[in-house]
Protein backbone atom coordinates (compact mmCIF):
# COMPACT_ATOMS: atom_id res chain seq x y z
CA UNK A 1 0.00 0.00 0.00
CA UNK A 2 1.29 3.45 -0.85
CA UNK A 3 1.93 5.82 2.04
CA UNK A 4 1.16 9.32 0.80
CA UNK A 5 0.98 10.58 4.40
CA UNK A 6 4.30 9.16 5.60
CA UNK A 7 5.91 11.59 8.05
CA UNK A 8 2.68 13.47 8.77
CA UNK A 9 1.37 13.92 12.31
CA UNK A 10 -2.43 13.76 12.31
CA UNK A 11 -4.79 14.68 15.13
CA UNK A 12 -8.31 13.26 14.77
CA UNK A 13 -10.90 14.33 17.34
CA UNK A 14 -13.68 11.94 18.28
CA UNK A 15 -11.89 8.81 17.04
CA UNK A 16 -13.55 6.19 19.25
CA UNK A 17 -16.12 5.02 16.78
CA UNK A 18 -18.06 5.77 13.64
CA UNK A 19 -16.63 8.18 11.12
CA UNK A 20 -13.79 9.37 13.39
CA UNK A 21 -12.51 5.84 13.97
CA UNK A 22 -12.57 5.14 10.22
CA UNK A 23 -10.70 8.38 9.51
CA UNK A 24 -8.03 7.62 12.13
CA UNK A 25 -7.51 4.10 10.78
CA UNK A 26 -7.39 5.26 7.15
CA UNK A 27 -4.87 8.03 7.81
CA UNK A 28 -2.69 5.56 9.74
CA UNK A 29 -2.85 3.13 6.81
CA UNK A 30 -1.73 5.98 4.56
CA UNK A 31 1.39 6.33 6.67
CA UNK A 32 0.53 9.14 9.10
CA UNK A 33 1.28 9.03 12.81
CA UNK A 34 -2.27 9.37 14.12
CA UNK A 35 -3.38 10.63 17.49
CA UNK A 36 -7.07 9.93 18.04
CA UNK A 37 -9.03 11.50 20.86
CA UNK A 38 -11.87 10.27 23.05
CA UNK A 39 -13.73 11.97 25.88
CA UNK A 40 -12.73 9.39 28.51
CA UNK A 41 -9.48 7.73 29.60
CA UNK A 42 -10.98 4.34 28.81
CA UNK A 43 -11.90 5.53 25.33
CA UNK A 44 -8.40 6.89 24.76
CA UNK A 45 -6.89 3.62 25.90
CA UNK A 46 -9.17 1.70 23.54
CA UNK A 47 -8.06 3.86 20.60
CA UNK A 48 -4.42 3.26 21.53
CA UNK A 49 -5.00 -0.48 21.62
CA UNK A 50 -6.96 -0.59 18.37
CA UNK A 51 -4.35 1.47 16.54
CA UNK A 52 -1.16 0.23 18.17
CA UNK A 53 -0.17 -1.95 15.21
CA UNK A 54 -0.84 0.88 12.74
CA UNK A 55 1.24 3.40 14.67
CA UNK A 56 -1.72 5.21 16.21
CA UNK A 57 -2.18 6.62 19.68
CA UNK A 58 -5.12 7.53 21.89
CA UNK A 59 -5.52 10.62 24.04
CA UNK A 60 -8.32 11.96 26.21
CA UNK A 61 -9.73 15.30 25.10
CA UNK A 62 -12.79 17.35 25.91
CA UNK A 63 -13.03 19.67 22.90
CA UNK A 64 -15.07 22.16 24.92
CA UNK A 65 -12.12 22.76 27.27
CA UNK A 66 -9.78 25.38 25.74
CA UNK A 67 -6.89 24.65 28.11
CA UNK A 68 -7.14 20.92 27.44
CA UNK A 69 -6.97 21.54 23.68
CA UNK A 70 -3.85 23.69 24.02
CA UNK A 71 -2.18 21.26 26.40
CA UNK A 72 -2.80 18.31 24.12
CA UNK A 73 -1.46 20.12 21.05
CA UNK A 74 1.67 21.07 23.05
CA UNK A 75 2.13 17.53 24.31
CA UNK A 76 1.74 16.03 20.83
CA UNK A 77 4.29 18.53 19.50
CA UNK A 78 6.81 17.44 22.10
CA UNK A 79 6.11 13.72 21.83
CA UNK A 80 5.58 13.21 18.10
CA UNK A 81 6.35 16.52 16.36
CA UNK A 82 4.15 19.39 15.20
CA UNK A 83 0.67 18.44 13.99
CA UNK A 84 0.50 18.70 10.20
CA UNK A 85 -2.99 17.29 9.66
CA UNK A 86 -5.95 18.25 11.85
CA UNK A 87 -9.25 16.46 11.42
CA UNK A 88 -12.11 18.07 13.34
CA UNK A 89 -14.55 15.23 13.63
CA UNK A 90 -15.82 15.30 17.22
CA UNK A 91 -19.49 16.13 17.37
CA UNK A 92 -22.74 15.38 19.11
CA UNK A 93 -26.45 15.78 18.43
CA UNK A 94 -29.25 16.96 20.63
CA UNK A 95 -32.19 16.85 18.25
CA UNK A 96 -35.44 18.55 19.10
CA UNK A 97 -38.05 20.60 17.30
CA UNK A 98 -37.22 24.24 17.80
CA UNK A 99 -40.51 24.79 19.62
CA UNK A 100 -39.23 22.46 22.31
CA UNK A 101 -35.49 23.12 22.08
CA UNK A 102 -33.97 24.57 25.22
CA UNK A 103 -31.36 27.26 24.90
CA UNK A 104 -28.87 24.91 26.52
CA UNK A 105 -29.54 22.32 23.78
CA UNK A 106 -28.61 24.92 21.23
CA UNK A 107 -25.55 26.25 23.03
CA UNK A 108 -24.02 22.89 23.84
CA UNK A 109 -24.17 21.87 20.18
CA UNK A 110 -22.56 25.11 19.02
CA UNK A 111 -19.84 24.77 21.66
CA UNK A 112 -19.06 21.10 20.99
CA UNK A 113 -19.47 21.06 17.20
CA UNK A 114 -18.41 24.55 16.09
CA UNK A 115 -16.44 26.43 18.78
CA UNK A 116 -14.34 23.30 19.20
CA UNK A 117 -13.22 23.68 15.58
CA UNK A 118 -12.11 27.23 16.37
CA UNK A 119 -10.15 25.98 19.39
CA UNK A 120 -8.32 23.11 17.75
CA UNK A 121 -7.63 25.00 14.52
CA UNK A 122 -6.17 27.96 16.40
CA UNK A 123 -4.04 25.68 18.55
CA UNK A 124 -2.39 23.91 15.59
CA UNK A 125 -1.90 27.02 13.45
CA UNK A 126 1.36 28.19 14.98
CA UNK A 127 3.11 24.94 14.10
CA UNK A 128 1.60 24.79 10.63
CA UNK A 129 2.53 28.40 9.86
CA UNK A 130 6.12 27.77 10.87
CA UNK A 131 6.22 24.61 8.77
CA UNK A 132 4.64 26.46 5.83
CA UNK A 133 2.30 23.53 5.31
CA UNK A 134 -0.70 21.89 6.86
CA UNK A 135 -4.13 20.42 6.34
CA UNK A 136 -7.20 21.33 8.37
CA UNK A 137 -10.17 19.15 7.50
CA UNK A 138 -13.46 19.45 9.34
CA UNK A 139 -16.40 17.12 9.20
CA UNK A 140 -19.63 19.02 8.63
CA UNK A 141 -22.89 17.49 7.39
CA UNK A 142 -25.25 17.67 4.46
CA UNK A 143 -27.81 19.13 6.86
CA UNK A 144 -25.52 22.12 7.33
CA UNK A 145 -26.39 22.98 3.73
CA UNK A 146 -29.94 21.65 3.36
CA UNK A 147 -31.30 22.02 6.88
CA UNK A 148 -33.24 19.29 8.66
CA UNK A 149 -36.27 19.45 10.93
CA UNK A 150 -35.30 18.77 14.52
CA UNK A 151 -31.69 19.77 13.91
CA UNK A 152 -31.69 23.57 13.89
CA UNK A 153 -28.83 23.54 16.40
CA UNK A 154 -26.79 20.86 14.63
CA UNK A 155 -27.37 22.31 11.16
CA UNK A 156 -26.38 25.79 12.36
CA UNK A 157 -23.14 24.45 13.83
CA UNK A 158 -22.31 22.49 10.66
CA UNK A 159 -23.05 25.46 8.40
CA UNK A 160 -20.82 27.48 10.70
CA UNK A 161 -17.96 25.04 10.12
CA UNK A 162 -18.24 25.61 6.36
CA UNK A 163 -18.07 29.40 6.61
CA UNK A 164 -15.32 29.23 9.23
CA UNK A 165 -13.24 27.04 6.93
CA UNK A 166 -13.69 29.34 3.94
CA UNK A 167 -12.53 32.32 5.99
CA UNK A 168 -9.54 30.51 7.45
CA UNK A 169 -8.61 29.19 4.01
CA UNK A 170 -8.37 32.79 2.79
CA UNK A 171 -6.34 33.85 5.83
CA UNK A 172 -3.63 31.20 5.68
CA UNK A 173 -3.55 30.05 2.08
CA UNK A 174 -0.37 32.04 1.51
CA UNK A 175 1.36 29.78 4.04
CA UNK A 176 0.65 26.57 2.18
CA UNK A 177 -2.07 25.48 4.58
CA UNK A 178 -5.34 24.23 3.14
CA UNK A 179 -8.66 24.26 5.00
CA UNK A 180 -11.47 22.06 3.74
CA UNK A 181 -14.70 20.44 4.81
CA UNK A 182 -16.16 17.01 4.18
CA UNK A 183 -19.95 16.97 4.42
CA UNK A 184 -21.25 13.44 4.94
CA UNK A 185 -24.78 12.51 3.99
CA UNK A 186 -26.58 9.62 5.61
CA UNK A 187 -23.80 7.38 6.98
CA UNK A 188 -24.45 4.17 8.88
CA UNK A 189 -23.20 5.07 12.39
CA UNK A 190 -24.50 5.15 15.94
CA UNK A 191 -25.50 8.77 15.36
CA UNK A 192 -27.77 8.00 12.42
CA UNK A 193 -29.11 4.83 14.05
CA UNK A 194 -30.54 7.15 16.69
CA UNK A 195 -32.80 8.81 14.10
CA UNK A 196 -36.49 7.90 14.09
CA UNK A 197 -37.71 5.43 11.46
CA UNK A 198 -39.68 8.21 9.74
CA UNK A 199 -36.54 10.30 9.53
CA UNK A 200 -34.59 7.34 8.11
CA UNK A 201 -37.22 6.47 5.49
CA UNK A 202 -37.57 10.06 4.45
CA UNK A 203 -33.85 10.39 3.96
CA UNK A 204 -33.35 7.03 2.17
CA UNK A 205 -35.82 8.01 -0.54
CA UNK A 206 -33.64 10.95 -1.44
CA UNK A 207 -30.35 9.06 -1.89
CA UNK A 208 -29.54 8.50 -5.59
CA UNK A 209 -27.34 5.49 -4.83
CA UNK A 210 -30.17 3.98 -2.75
CA UNK A 211 -28.06 3.00 0.22
CA UNK A 212 -26.49 4.39 3.34
CA UNK A 213 -22.90 5.48 3.19
CA UNK A 214 -20.16 3.72 5.08
CA UNK A 215 -17.79 5.49 7.49
CA UNK A 216 -14.92 4.46 5.21
CA UNK A 217 -16.49 6.47 2.36
CA UNK A 218 -15.92 9.59 4.45
CA UNK A 219 -12.49 8.46 5.61
CA UNK A 220 -11.24 8.09 2.04
CA UNK A 221 -12.40 11.61 1.18
CA UNK A 222 -10.54 12.95 4.22
CA UNK A 223 -7.40 10.98 3.31
CA UNK A 224 -7.52 12.48 -0.18
CA UNK A 225 -7.83 16.04 1.14
CA UNK A 226 -4.92 15.35 3.53
CA UNK A 227 -2.72 14.05 0.70
CA UNK A 228 -0.22 16.00 -1.41
CA UNK A 229 -2.51 15.37 -4.41
CA UNK A 230 -5.09 17.76 -2.91
CA UNK A 231 -2.63 20.64 -2.49
CA UNK A 232 -4.62 23.00 -4.75
CA UNK A 233 -7.97 22.44 -3.06
CA UNK A 234 -8.86 24.85 -0.26
CA UNK A 235 -11.99 26.43 1.15
CA UNK A 236 -13.93 23.59 -0.45
CA UNK A 237 -16.76 21.49 0.91
CA UNK A 238 -16.66 17.96 -0.46
CA UNK A 239 -20.10 16.37 -0.31
CA UNK A 240 -20.04 12.62 0.23
CA UNK A 241 -23.69 11.66 0.28
CA UNK A 242 -24.53 9.18 -2.45
CA UNK A 243 -26.30 11.84 -4.46
CA UNK A 244 -28.66 12.76 -1.65
CA UNK A 245 -27.85 16.39 -2.21
CA UNK A 246 -26.07 17.94 -5.18
CA UNK A 247 -24.99 21.55 -4.75
Amino acid sequence: MTQPLAGEIALVTGASRGIGAAIADTLAQAGATVIGTATSDAGAAAIGERMAAAGGHGRRLDVTDPAAVENLVDEIGKTFGAISVLVNNAGITRDQLLMRMKEEDFNVIIDTNLTSVFRTSKAVLRGMMKARKGRIISIASVVGVTGNPGQANYAAAKAGIIAFSKSLAREIGSRGITVNVVAPGFIDTDMTRALSSEQREGLMGQIALGRLGDASDIAHAVAFLASPQAAYITGETLHVNGGMYMP
Binding site: M129, K130, I172, R175
Partner: protein, 79 residues
Protein backbone atom coordinates in the same frame (compact mmCIF):
# COMPACT_ATOMS: atom_id res chain seq x y z
CA UNK B 1 26.21 36.86 22.22
CA UNK B 2 24.40 39.09 19.76
CA UNK B 3 22.74 42.27 20.96
CA UNK B 4 18.96 42.53 21.10
CA UNK B 5 19.07 44.86 18.10
CA UNK B 6 20.96 42.27 16.06
CA UNK B 7 18.67 39.42 17.05
CA UNK B 8 15.51 41.43 16.27
CA UNK B 9 16.99 42.48 12.94
CA UNK B 10 17.82 38.89 12.05
CA UNK B 11 14.26 37.76 12.78
CA UNK B 12 12.79 40.59 10.71
CA UNK B 13 15.05 39.66 7.78
CA UNK B 14 14.07 35.98 8.02
CA UNK B 15 10.35 36.50 8.55
CA UNK B 16 9.76 39.21 5.99
CA UNK B 17 12.36 38.10 3.45
CA UNK B 18 13.90 41.58 3.20
CA UNK B 19 17.50 42.73 2.78
CA UNK B 20 19.62 43.71 5.73
CA UNK B 21 20.10 47.32 4.64
CA UNK B 22 16.30 47.79 4.48
CA UNK B 23 15.92 46.97 8.16
CA UNK B 24 16.68 50.37 9.65
CA UNK B 25 15.62 51.29 13.17
CA UNK B 26 12.66 53.32 12.02
CA UNK B 27 11.56 51.00 9.22
CA UNK B 28 7.84 50.22 9.43
CA UNK B 29 7.03 46.53 8.98
CA UNK B 30 3.95 47.28 6.88
CA UNK B 31 4.83 50.51 5.06
CA UNK B 32 8.55 50.01 4.45
CA UNK B 33 9.11 46.26 4.60
CA UNK B 34 5.94 45.11 2.84
CA UNK B 35 4.48 43.02 5.65
CA UNK B 36 0.81 42.06 5.51
CA UNK B 37 -1.32 41.46 8.61
CA UNK B 38 -0.44 37.77 8.76
CA UNK B 39 3.28 38.60 8.43
CA UNK B 40 3.08 40.87 11.46
CA UNK B 41 1.37 38.15 13.49
CA UNK B 42 4.12 35.71 12.52
CA UNK B 43 6.79 38.27 13.32
CA UNK B 44 5.43 38.69 16.83
CA UNK B 45 5.29 34.89 17.21
CA UNK B 46 8.94 34.64 16.18
CA UNK B 47 9.95 37.41 18.60
CA UNK B 48 8.08 35.64 21.40
CA UNK B 49 10.00 32.45 20.75
CA UNK B 50 13.41 34.07 20.33
CA UNK B 51 13.12 36.07 23.53
CA UNK B 52 10.99 33.59 25.50
CA UNK B 53 8.38 36.16 26.31
CA UNK B 54 4.68 36.60 25.67
CA UNK B 55 3.55 39.72 23.88
CA UNK B 56 -0.14 40.44 24.58
CA UNK B 57 -2.24 41.30 21.52
CA UNK B 58 -2.84 44.90 22.64
CA UNK B 59 0.94 45.40 22.99
CA UNK B 60 1.70 43.59 19.73
CA UNK B 61 -0.53 46.02 17.84
CA UNK B 62 1.67 48.91 18.95
CA UNK B 63 4.86 47.31 17.65
CA UNK B 64 4.98 48.60 14.09
CA UNK B 65 8.67 49.41 13.60
CA UNK B 66 12.00 47.71 14.21
CA UNK B 67 12.85 50.15 17.01
CA UNK B 68 9.51 49.59 18.75
CA UNK B 69 10.19 45.85 18.73
CA UNK B 70 13.65 46.37 20.21
CA UNK B 71 12.27 48.71 22.87
CA UNK B 72 9.54 46.27 23.83
CA UNK B 73 11.96 43.37 24.13
CA UNK B 74 14.39 45.43 26.19
CA UNK B 75 11.61 46.37 28.59
CA UNK B 76 10.13 42.87 28.92
CA UNK B 77 12.71 40.24 28.05
CA UNK B 78 14.05 37.86 30.66
CA UNK B 79 17.61 37.97 29.34
Amino acid sequence: MSTIEERVKKIVIEQLGVKEDQVTANASFVDDLGADSLDTVELVMALEEEFETEIPDEEAEKITTVQQAVDYIKAHSKD
